[in-house]
Each structure stands twice: as C-alpha cells, then as structure tokens.
C-alpha cells in the first residue's frame, strides 16, 4: 500500500527506477561472471545515489574474514585486501547497516559513519556487503533510496549465487572432462601398445604419454629383467643412476612421495617427487619416477592411480614382448635340434648293409631329439666289415657332436688297412686331445674277416657284447681291449682279441640304455640277467624279432619310460 502511494507521488522517477531494476536484473541474472555482477552493482548504485566512495566486501571462509572484491574509493581499502570484520551473527542477517547506528562496525571498516552497508545475501547465505560512502550532498539516504538499493542487492546476490553455482558446475564438468581424457589415454595406449613389439618404442611412448598427461619433464622408467636393472626411458635427468641407486630405487615402497631431507642424493639432485614400483606376479620388476608438475600441482591419489595404470600397461606389454622372444628362441632352437636330429640320423647306416651268411638287425632310440649313442656297419676294401657300437657320456647336443666326430674317424679309417688295436689307440689320443676331460666314449668295434668266420675285436670300456654259442644259455662276454676312449692318453696299447663264428651263434651288442633301463619307481635296473633271460627265451626267432622282443621286454619293465638312449645290434650266423 505504501509503495503504490509513492509511485503515484512521483510517477516518472518510479518508472525510471523500475526500468533500471528490470534491466539491471536481466543483465545480472544472465551474467555468469560474478566479477561482472559485482562491478555493475557498485557502479549502478554509486551513479544512482551520486556517492563517490563505494566498495564490495566478499565473505571468505572463516567467521569474520572478508576480502575487498571491488573498491572505487580513494582512501578506502584497496581491491584484494583481506580484512576482519567482527559482526554479531544477527547483524549478518540485517539487510542494511547504517553508519550512525552501528558506529563500531564502521570504525572496524575504517570508513566514515555517513556510510551504509547493504547486505549481499540469499535466503540462506550471507555473501558479503556493498558499502557506500556518503552522498555528495551529505544528505542521509532516504527510505526510498535505501529500498531501491536493497532491491538491487537482492537481485545481485541471486545473480552471484547463480554464477558461483555455474562456475562450480563448470569446474566439475572440467574435472569430468579430464577424467574422460585420462581414460581415453589409457584406452588408446592399450590399443597402441598391443601393436608394438619393440621394447624401446613402448618405453618411449610411455614416457611421452606421462610427460604430456602429467605436465612434467623429469621422468625415468627402470626395468629389472633377469636380475639386471637398467633405465629404459628417461627425460630431464641431470645424471644417470648408478647401479647402487637403481638397487635402492627398487627397495623403496611401492608408492613413495619423496621428501627432500630423507631421500637419496640421486632423487634430490634430479628433483624426483614421486617413485612408483610396479609388480608383475607380485615381484617388483619396474620403477617409475616423476619430477615436479609444471602446473605446480602435486600428485594426489588420482595421479598416482593413473601413473600406476599406465605403468602397468607398459609393463605388461614389455613382458609380452619378452615372452614372445623367448618363444621365438625356443622355436628356433627346436628347429635347429630337428635339423641336428636329421643330420645325426644320417650318420647311422640306413639301410643296414646285408652281409652274406648273417642275419642282422639294429636299432637306435634316442631319449631326446639328439643323442650320444652310435652304431655302424662299414664295408672295408678287403671285402670284410667293421661292426661298431659306442656310447658317449652325457646326452643331447654335446654328446651328439662327439658321436659325429667318432663316426667320421671310423669312416676315415675304414678304407685303410690298420690293425684295430693301433687304430683304437689313435682314436683315443685324438678324442683325449680334443674334448673336455669329462667327455668319454665307451666303444666296441670288431672286424669281420672276408671269409665271415673270424671276428677281431677291441673293447674300449664298453658293455661287453654277448656271444651265445649254439645250444648254450650262458653267453661269452667280449671284454678284451682297454680303457674307455678320451679318459687318458694311450699309455698302454689296446689289446685285440679274436673269436671264431660258427653256425647258430648269436651276438648281441648293446649300450647301457638297455641294461640300465629303470622300473617305474626307479628302484631297480633292467640289468644283464634280464637281457640274457629274454635272449634265451627268444633264441629261435630271427634277429629282427629277437631285437623287438628285447625292446618289448624293456618297455614293459620300465612302463615305457625311457631315460637313456637305447642302441643294439643283433647278429646271427645262419
């Protein structure tokens, strides 16, 4: 009622004020910038009341703290000044504080008592004050003026609260954007890493992603492969870490925020702020260190998490490449072994030569791809034949190399008319001179005479071949000769010995893979007596079947588990 009376009393001015209010409110509400709102509030009110001093106080966190947000007054506080204004809580709710009523407040503010404070508040928050100095006319503010300014402060307060909320939202949005970007980086790099097999490239991309993402320039990435710790990528280090530095880095906690005083010289000199250990199957195999962030922000949980995630990604990719390489190497080795196997098989006689008047069978079964057993039947220029069987100590590639060596010596000697015992001495010396002292060969060879009736043999430490005379169950052992090949120089000459073959005789040459085959619980060997029994049970068969009977017997004894190479020659005089 009061208002309408006043409007009618001064219609023109009222309309002008209404328009000002309307336009101001629109401008302020639409603005999303609190600074703009405050500045306009101050200028409009100063212009409207024609006061020459004015400022805006904005409340800060803390009970009595305010900052001078805007100041258009010479001699008053400057913009940006922090002040303390002790006000009773009730006064923070008053819309208007007049200088002549609250002199104590204005003394604290350091402004004249003709000034007025207008509360900037929303329904539940006190935001600050608009402080206006005395009018140029020195007249006190009229009720009408007070009411008008109060309306403006209410509109402005709402606008400020809105724009603050808007800014808060914008900040939250930005944080979300940043999170989305972080996730995108992880996702993208996981795809990129998948295509990479070069460890240097992986480490380099990890480095650049960290530099860009964290806004840093100091970075290192150390890796522990096969107990060797090395820096695989770095940027901005003043010095490379020593081996001791690296060892110490791997001893740090998984997440270590560096503290200048307590840390090693390496961390301090390079201004490393954070060191993170990365684990693979619970073992720490990588360490990442990062320097200060250029935006002066620290490393919070979010950054540590991101660093760990990206680090683990890089680490897994590197692990993958290591496994891949291992696999490739393994496959290469397998291929080479297969090739070696083919070569070794070529060193054994195939097909087995036939010798008139004899029924011969032979077999060589390696427990691995390549082995150290050897047998041979070589025709000599005088129409006789050399029979040989040998077992190199050890297994696998080293044994097979020595076996190949022996094979080539025998084939070189075969065309030459040498006596067996002298030749054995020479072979021993060559092997002794050319092989490590822990490599030996047990070796038996014999020369079958041209008329097929006589076998001259030398046994150099080999399991004695068994000669079963026709009708006899106890074999003759062919033991004459000397020490195993390669153990020592030939001090004593090897002795040779001779046997006569008669129709129905059976000669079996074998390696220790036969007699030392183990039963399943590894407590007993096959041994010679089982071999002899088996041979006696199968005497009526041909050589091939006798040999198969022995193999079957060994397999049933050992439950088909073969530990050593097995080699045999079975020969019957027909």
């Amino acid at each position: 009622m009061k208002k309408s009376t006043r409007f009618s009393s001064d219609d023109t001015q009222s309309r002008f004020e209404l328009r000002t209010l309307l336009e101001t409110s629109r401008m302020l509400i639409e603005s999303q910038d609190p600074d703009f709102v405050l500045n306009n509030l101050l200028l409009i009110t100063m212009g409207k009341l024609m006061v020459s001093k004015g400022m805006i106080l904005i409340r800060k966190p803390g009970q009595y703290s305010y900052v001078i947000s805007k100041s258009k007054a010479r001699g008053w506080h400057k913009e940006g000044t922090d002040i303390t204004l002790k006000l009773e809580v009730d006064l923070q709710k008053n819309p208007i504080l007049r200088g002549d009523e609250y002199t104590e407040v204005f003394t604290q503010l350091g402004v004249s008592e003709q000034s007025t404070l207008f509360n900037l508040r929303t329904s539940n928050h006190h935001l600050g004050f608009l402080c206006l100095g005395p009018k140029g006319t020195q007249q006190p503010l009229s009720d009408h003026e007070l009411e008008f300014i109060e309306s403006l402060t209410i509109i402005s307060s709402v606008a400020i609260a809105n724009s603050r909320m808007f800014q808060e939202l914008r900040q939250i949005n930005r944080k979300l954007d940043r999170k989305v970007h972080d996730l995108n980086t992880l996702l993208e790099l996981s795809k990129d890493f998948n295509l990479m097999v070069d460890r240097d490239e992986i480490a380099r991309v990890f480095k650049f992603a960290m530099l860009g993402q964290m806004l840093i320039r100091t970075f290192f990435f150390a890796l522990d492969v096969d107990d060797k710790k090395t820096i695989v990528a770095q940027s901005g280090l003043n010095e490379d870490p020593s081996q001791e530095n690296l060892d110490a880095l791997f001893e740090l906690d998984d997440v270590t925020h560096c503290v200048q005083d307590n840390d090693s010289a390496f961390l301090t000199n390079n201004d490393i702020k954070l060191v993170i250990g990365l684990r693979f199957q619970n073992e720490k195999i990588a360490v990442v260190g990062v320097g200060p962030r250029a935006n002066n922000e620290g490393y919070e949980d979010a950054e540590v998490n991101f660093l760990e995630s990206l680090g683990n990604l890089a680490l897994l990719t590197i692990q993958k490449t290591l496994l891949l390489e291992e696999q490739i190497e393994k496959r290469q080795m397998e291929e080479e072994l297969n090739l070696a196997k083919t070569i070794q098989e070529g060193l054994l006689p195939d097909p087995l030569p036939t010798i008139e008047g004899f029924d011969i069978a032979a077999i060589n079964v390696s427990s691995r791809q390549v082995g150290g057993d050897y047998f041979d039947i070589i025709e000599t220029p005088d129409n006789g034949h050399l029979l040989a069987i040998a077992d190199v100590t050890g297994k696998g590639v080293p044994a097979s190399l020595l076996m190949a060596n022996l094979q080539s010596m025998l084939h070189a000697l075969a065309p030459i008319d040498v006596t067996l015992n002298e030749a054995t001495g020479s072979i021993n010396d060559i092997i002794h001179d050319n092989t490590p002292s822990d490599k030996f060969i047990t070796f038996f060879w014999g020369k079958l005479s041209e008329n097929r009736q006589k076998l001259t043999y030398v046994n150099a430490g080999h399991n004695p071949p068994l000669l079963f005379r026709k009708g006899e169950e106890e074999p003759v052992l062919l033991e004459e000769g000397g020490v195993i090949l390669g153990a020592m120089p030939s001090m004593m000459p090897y002795e040779s010995s001779e046997i006569e073959f008669r129709e129905g005789d059976l000669l079996v040459l074998f390696t220790d893979g036969v007699t030392e085959a183990m039963n399943p619980d590894q407590s007993e060997e096959y041994e010679e007596h089982r071999l002899i029994d088996c041979l006696n049970r199968n005497r009526d068969k041909n050589s091939e079947n006798i040999m198969q009977a022995i193999i079957d017997d060994i397999n049933s004894f050992s439950n088909n588990v073969q530990y050593d190479d097995i080699t045999m020659i079975v020969l019957q005089v027909s």
Binding site: R204, V205, F208, L211, L215
Partner: protein, 116 residues
C-alpha cells in the same frame, strides 16, 4: 603408417613446423625427430603450426614437454598456433596454456617472437 606429416619452413629466422593429421603414440617420434634436428642445427625459435592437426594424444603433448625447457634454456621458444577447438581443448584440459605461448595464428606468433 598413420596419417601424420610434418613440413618445415623458415620465415624471418624462425623455423615453422606445419604438422597435420593425427599426433599420437605412433607418430610422436616423428615430431620428436624434427624438434631434435632443429635443436641440433641451433634453431631454437620454433613455431608449430597446428592448422592441419586433427587429433592430438597425450604422447604427442609429451614431446612438447620434453623439449620446451631445453629450447628456452638456449634462448628460444616453442610457440603453438592455429589449433582447432578439439585440439585446443586437449591442450587446455592438461593445463598447457599456462606453460606455452599459444596463438590464434602464425602471424601473431611471429610478431611475438620479434617482441621478445
């Protein structure tokens, strides 16, 4: 090979890198090599014109981080120009505008070099 390319021009004693395409984990090393060779040739005033740049990943930004201090330490600078909004947004999100001199166009960047 991904769609990324770099061309180098010289203008008023300043090296201008025109980069275009996608600067990501795979292509970051190309940018690194270009910056390295400029530094090796004692050319420290560098403008990177991003006019043709469609996309930038964190690894691409990392290359700038790795070299900015070296270049500034030698009395030069790396200034960035002509970014599209999407690319600028990534720079902005990670806080680059406070560290790098970013200009709307190349001319502006050239001028700011002569004012330095």
């Amino acid at each position: 090979m991904k769609n990324f390319s770099i061309a180098i021009r010289q203008k008023e004693g300043i090296s201008i890198l025109d980069i275009s395409g996608e600067l990501d984990a795979h292509t970051a090393s190309q940018l690194e090599n270009s910056l390295k060779s400029l530094i090796d040739d004692d050319k420290y005033s560098i403008i990177v014109n991003c006019n043709g740049l469609d996309y930038i990943a964190s690894a691409g930004l990392g290359v700038f981080m790795a070299y900015i201090e070296d270049v500034r330490g030698l009395g030069g600078d790396i200034k960035l120009t002509n970014m599209n909004d999407r690319v600028y947004n990534v720079f902005d999100l990670l806080g680059f505008p406070t560290l790098y001199d970013i200009h709307d166009d190349e001319h502006e960047a050239l001028e700011s070099f002569s004012n330095d």
